[in-house]
Amino acid sequence: MKTFPRGIHPHEFKELSKDRAIQALPPPPEVVLPMSQHLGVPCAPTVKKGDAVRKGQVVGEPDPANPRRFVSAPVHASVSGKVVAVEPRRSPLAPSALSVVIENDGQEAWADGVPAETEPATLDAVGIKTRIQAAGIVGMGGAGFPTHVKISPPPEKPIDTLILNAAECEPYLTCDYRLMLEHPAELVEGLLLLAKALGVKETLIGIEANKLDAYELLRTASEGKGIRVEVCRVKYPQGAEKQLIYALTRRKVPAGGLPLDVGIVVQNVATAFAVREAVRAGKPLIERVATVTGDGVARPANFLVRLGTPFRALLDASGVLDGARKIIAGGPMMGIAQGSVDVPVVKGTSGILVLREAAAAEWRACISCGRCVASCPMGLMPNEVSIACEAQNLDVMGTLSIADCCECGCCAYACPAKRPIVHWIKWGKAALARRKALQQKQKAS
């Protein structure tokens, strides 16, 4: 079975929510829409306090004066109502992010010209890209890279292969799985639209072997459409971009490079679905599927939820149990622990994980067991990195290729000494960047 070297096998816990059909959560009384839900230039609000907005209306756009505005994605109102505030609010990605707060009037009134159904066959590549960009679609697996940028490679980097990342290798999460089960045809359509926009020769779907029912559905849906559906071994991080590419094509994305460098673009399941909604149905990205799961909730579920809905609303719908100690945006391996439940669902929120048992916080000296090395999918030496970071030895850290770390968390998961390796690496990356900036400043002056 196709896979990549090393990696780990954490318990999946997908059984908690995998059989829960996608359930639409009623729009909340108030949505909070951060202006930065993606990588790249943050949006500038295009509405002000007191404005009336309608569903699907643009409320944030990159500043037209910014030369890098292409790498950004607009934000749309996810409900109709009145803007009650444009102010910094807490977001799952940052303690404080400029946000547009809309009070829901319950009318569900669409903005003018939305949704605008189109027959995709009438669109060319540029037309598809324009629609994707206008719909504000970003990578919905968590990274949040604007999709229209991803499918607009520079001319010197020809793309021959498109991969749909259906691995969903994060434990617990089932939102992609449910989309595949319930909307295989729509997914395939979204994928074909992306393929058309890119003009690729080959289109692949990579799916882990723990979702064989979804595999069958996707295979049936994609029959005769030039799509190859491949089963990958169940292993974390099978869905990491570079690892999935290697598993399916044996191509190695160069260190520090992008999939573009080997002629490949990878798109996530939820993104492909959003592309289909944007291009055919003409709907901007205002809702997504998010899994609420973990041993801290009474009723795990997969919710179709409006962007900007507070975590609290999802958690109330699922019922948080006593003793919940951790609330995580995303999965357990790469998700971000939240200090508050009053943060909104954003484009990259694939799930909310509620855990009762907090992972061990005490760590010991490295015993050189090599488990981190044996698990690191990037071929790094996390043991050395952790020792250098613990000692705050920037010179050594600079020699250990930590820029190639994808923070998948395999090393820290495997560590018997419970060393917080990912934490140290994140700190190390920031510290090295600070030092570099300082050196450049000194050189300049």
Binding site: K252, V373, C376, W427
Partner: protein
């Protein structure tokens, strides 16, 4: 550099407590960790040594229990006292001091004087382990260093050889007639270990040949009873082995003299298999270590004393004349290959590095056994390779995914 950022986010209470009563924990990912931890590793490894230990108690009697008890107790006590004095958290419950103490006992004969395991354990824990920073920071395997230290203590009137032979009174060797005979009279007889019997025997043989050659030259003797060519040397070696060797099954099942933990290759092998399946050790290490010892001891020349045509004492180097199986099952090789060379702290990190390490251990083991001053070389071979671990680590790093070769 801001200090607080380096501190891993353990419990960072947040201002909001809802919806659960205690504040939410905010830490860096990953939020789930494997069930593996240091105490589990140490206690499991200790548990897999129990069959070999039980055999030692059966074979050598309660004295083995006492020697082991002294070694374990003094190892645990030394670590606890050291940590207490240094004001560090006392971590003896993690099992690493217990395991070190157990392994110290395993590398001494059961009838070693009480102060021998005591000294070895204290040295191993205080000097070799704690002085270097405790678990994870030691350069050498503490148990083997403890052994090396005691062997070096010549001033105590304890010649190195005195530690090789061991009492073997409780279980009568099946085919060792001499030992069986004496065992009738005394409860515990001392006898040489299989390896020292061969080594000492060969040395005596060499002395005898030299003596005869001298006498032949002086005209006191008409013939020299020694091999005159390689063919005769080979024949002599075979006869020598028949006289001095130990049957393979006795070696494998531990019906022989030796240190507490090393005699029963079979039980050590079974324990090692468990460790391989638990992923605590990599199979490459014991396989390469033992395999290379077998290969090299078969291949490398055995120097058989003899005389040349002129009647001068010489030696015939017989290539490919070794006895790989006997070499493999004898001595501390199985203990070393499964439990010492696989010590996480003191061996390289990557599988490639561990392979280099294991082959190096094997090379030094065979060189010391065959050409060195000691009958057994596993201990020093592993300690030598422990010293080489940092440099092996440096040259056997993983290749970063997608990184191009350096131009």
């Amino acid at each position: 550099m801001p200090d607080e950022e380096a501190k891993p986010a353990a419990a960072e209470p947040t201002e909001e407590a809802a919806p659960a009563a205690p504040p939410l924990l905010v830490t860096t990912s990953p939020h789930v960790l494997s069930a593996e931890n240091i105490p589990r590793i140490m206690w499991t490894v200790s548990a897999t040594l129990m069959p070999a230990f039980a055999w030692a108690v059966y074979a050598f009697g309660p004295r083995a229990l006492l020697t082991t008890g002294i070694a374990v107790a003094s190892a645990v006590a030394t670590e606890a006292i050291w940590q207490k004095l240094r004001g560090r958290p006392v971590t003896v419950s993690d099992g690493s001091a217990f395991l070190s103490g157990l392994l110290v006992a395993f590398v001494f004969p059961s009838h070693a004087p009480w102060y021998v395991p005591l000294t070895a354990s204290i040295f191993a824990m205080a000097i070799v382990k704690q002085l270097f920073g405790g678990l994870g920071c030691n350069v050498w395997n503490p148990a083997l260093m403890g052994r090396a230290f005691v062997l070096a203590c010549g001033t105590w009137g304890m010649a190195a050889n005195a530690f090789w032979p061991t009492a073997f009174g409780y279980l009568k060797p099946a085919r060792d007639k001499a030992a069986a005979a004496t065992a009738q009279e005394v409860d515990a007889t001392t006898g040489a270990t299989p390896l020292s019997k061969l080594k000492d025997g060969l040395r005596d043989f060499k002395g005898e040949v030299a003596k005869q050659a001298r006498e032949f030259k002086d005209g006191r003797r008409k013939t020299v009873l020694a091999p005159h060519n390689a063919r005769e040397a080979r024949e002599a070696l075979r006869e020598f082995r028949e006289a001095h060797g130990t049957p393979l099954d006795d070696l494998y099942f531990g019906r022989t003299g030796g240190c507490i933990g090393e005699v029963n290759a079979c039980f050590l092998f079974l324990g090692g298999i468990v460790l391989v399946f638990l992923n605590y050790i990599k199979w490459q290490v014991p396989v390469l270590f033992i395999g290379t010892v077998a290969l090299l001891s078969w291949m490398l020349p055995v120097n058989v004393p003899g005389v040349n045509a002129a009647g001068d004492a010489t030696s015939y180097a017989l290539w490919f004349a070794g006895e790989p199986l006997a070499e493999v099952f004898a001595g501390g090789l199985f203990l070393g290959a499964f439990y010492m060379a696989t010590d996480m702290v003191t061996s390289p990190v990557t599988t490639k590095g561990q392979a280099v390490f294991a082959i190096g251990c094997a090379l030094f083991t065979v060189l010391i056994r065959r050409y060195g001053g000691y009958p057994e070389g596993v201990c020093y071979a592993i300690l030598l390779m422990n010293t080489a671990t940092p440099i092996i680590n440096r040259y056997t790093r993983m290749k970063v995914f997608g990184q191009r070769e350096k131009k």
